[in-house]
């Protein structure tokens, strides 16, 4: 549940983070699933996404769009990530026109998503909100690690990996490009936002 929920960060940083998912309701409207998911990604690629992926194929950041779209034929869910609200708006507008008939979910700042919906004439149906993390929060790392690691809701981006990358970046033993690539790879679904990670990492490197 909710693998794109619970992404942490400042308001300013989250303004560059929108994950869009499309999926059918199992056993209800699974008609031409692969073709509809392919069309979702094809439309998405017109609007400059920063990541995309059919679940299970992985390596979305490094895989060519046509290969991802071909893979989608076998999937049950597709996801695509934007770092710009205008691109998100254009995508949602085109999705409404395409009328693919499957559920569309946008993870992002509620007020920003609501504004986009109003502009394209869509009324949101249901929201899933985060009440944050409870329990042994003393075991969690600081926000510089959390803001990056929580972009993979399946927990595939280890806190230790983020710490290691930040350290190597600060020591200049890793370039910014390599750092972003290293952190993007473990997220098999393609919902990690490498553009936002680049932004966060470059700030940390500048502080060093």
């Amino acid at each position: 549940m909710s693998h794109t929920n619970h992404r942490t960060g400042t308001y300013e940083s989250l303004q560059k983070d929108f994950a869009v998912i499309m999926m059918p309701a199992r056993g209800i409207n699974e008609v031409d699933t692969g073709l509809r998911l392919q069309q979702f990604l094809q439309i998405g690629y017109r609007h400059h996404p920063v990541n995309a992926g059919p679940a299970r194929t992985g390596d979305a950041f490094m895989t060519a769009p046509e290969k991802l779209i071909a893979h989608e034929r076998k999937s049950k869910i597709a996801q695509i990530v934007f770092d710009d609200r205008k691109n998100l708006e254009g995508f949602i507008r085109d999705l409404v026109a395409a009328d693919l008939g499957f559920s569309i979910i946008v993870s992002g700042l509620f007020d920003e998503v609501e504004d986009v919906c109003q502009r394209v004439g869509v009324k949101r149906h249901t929201t899933l909100c985060s009440l944050g993390v409870w329990g042994r929060v003393d075991r969690l790392p600081g926000s510089e690690v959390m803001d990056i690691a929580t972009m993979c809701g399946h927990g595939m981006i280890a806190f230790n990996l983020v710490k290691d990358v930040i350290e190597r970046l600060k020591r200049r033993s890793l370039s910014l490009d390599e750092a972003v690539k290293t952190l993007t790879r473990p997220c098999a679904c393609g919902v990690f936002n490498p553009a936002r990670a680049r932004d966060l990492l470059s700030r940390l490197a500048a502080e060093a």
Binding site: R7, A98, S103, I105, F110, C117, W134
Partner: protein, 241 residues
């Protein structure tokens, strides 16, 4: 996961990729601490050396992979991931009708992992309030007695990256459920992420936010929005509006 010592070149590149820090070097030998390992497969996918492998997993250890590796299908549900479609398809399924509140407690997230015994503790804390767990969620199938929140004894010590307790309640009852959860948070050795879901009011307001406030909590500014575009009978492809 295990490391084939004959193949391992000791580069240690796999070590930081482990989400639960289970790969360790001892006396110049790299080993996986199998007690801590959640069988998520991340180290194997990220390593080029070919030294990391996953032996065939027997019950109940196989639960570790099912609840930790996003590429593994749950036999109980036939789906991947760790939960259900929850709000994602709510406009089609009606899983959460207007007036209902959906709550999901994802034990072990983010990034800490959990023993299933801690899942049982939280389940038993909230069950006296009369909630019933979602049967389509893979966690449900771990209970020997779902009504009592009692897990099968052999699974309690298994460790997974996360497992979700998902249930439905009412606007009136939800604040009390959240308060009980808050108390239970002090009794577990892990973290959990709390989700709250509801159909929006006709004016666009979020009942989930009102419920949270009634419990003295605030929702985070970001979350998931179902745009209501799904249909029970989709139009044939190629027919754009």
């Amino acid at each position: 996961m295990r490391i084939d010592e004959s193949q391992c070149i000791g580069c240690l590149q796999c070590v930081p990729y482990c989400p639960v820090g289970a790969i360790k070097e001892e006396n110049s030998v790299v080993r996986v601490d199998e007690e801590e390992c959640v069988e998520c497969g991340c180290c194997r996918r990220m390593s080029d050396c070919g030294a990391i492998f996953q032996p065939e997993l027997a019950w109940p250890r196989v639960l570790r992979a099912q609840f930790s590796d996003p590429l593994t299908v749950h036999p109980s549900t036939g789906g991947g991931g760790r939960g259900t479609e929850e709000t994602k398809t709510n406009e089609v399924t009606g899983r959460y009708p207007p007036g209902a509140i959906g709550i999901a407690v994802e034990m072990g997230r983010p990034g800490i992992g959990t023993r299933l015994a801690d899942v049982e503790k939280v389940a038993q804390a909230i069950l006296p309030l009369g909630v019933g767990f979602e049967k389509d969620n893979p966690t449900y199938h771990l209970f020997e007695d779902p009504a009592a929140g009692r897990l099968r004894p052999e699974v309690r010590n298994e460790r997974v990256l996360s497992a979700i307790l998902e249930f439905r309640t009412t606007v009136a009852q939800a604040p009390e459920v959240l308060k009980v959860l808050k108390r239970a948070a002090g009794e577990v050795d892990t973290v959990f992420s709390v989700n709250i879901a509801a159909v929006l009011e006709p004016d666009g307001s979020q009942p989930a936010a009102l419920v949270a406030r009634a419990a003295g909590l605030e929702i985070r500014p970001n979350g998931k929005n179902n745009l209501g575009l799904g249909k029970r009978q989709p139009c044939p492809l190629g027919r754009e509006r």
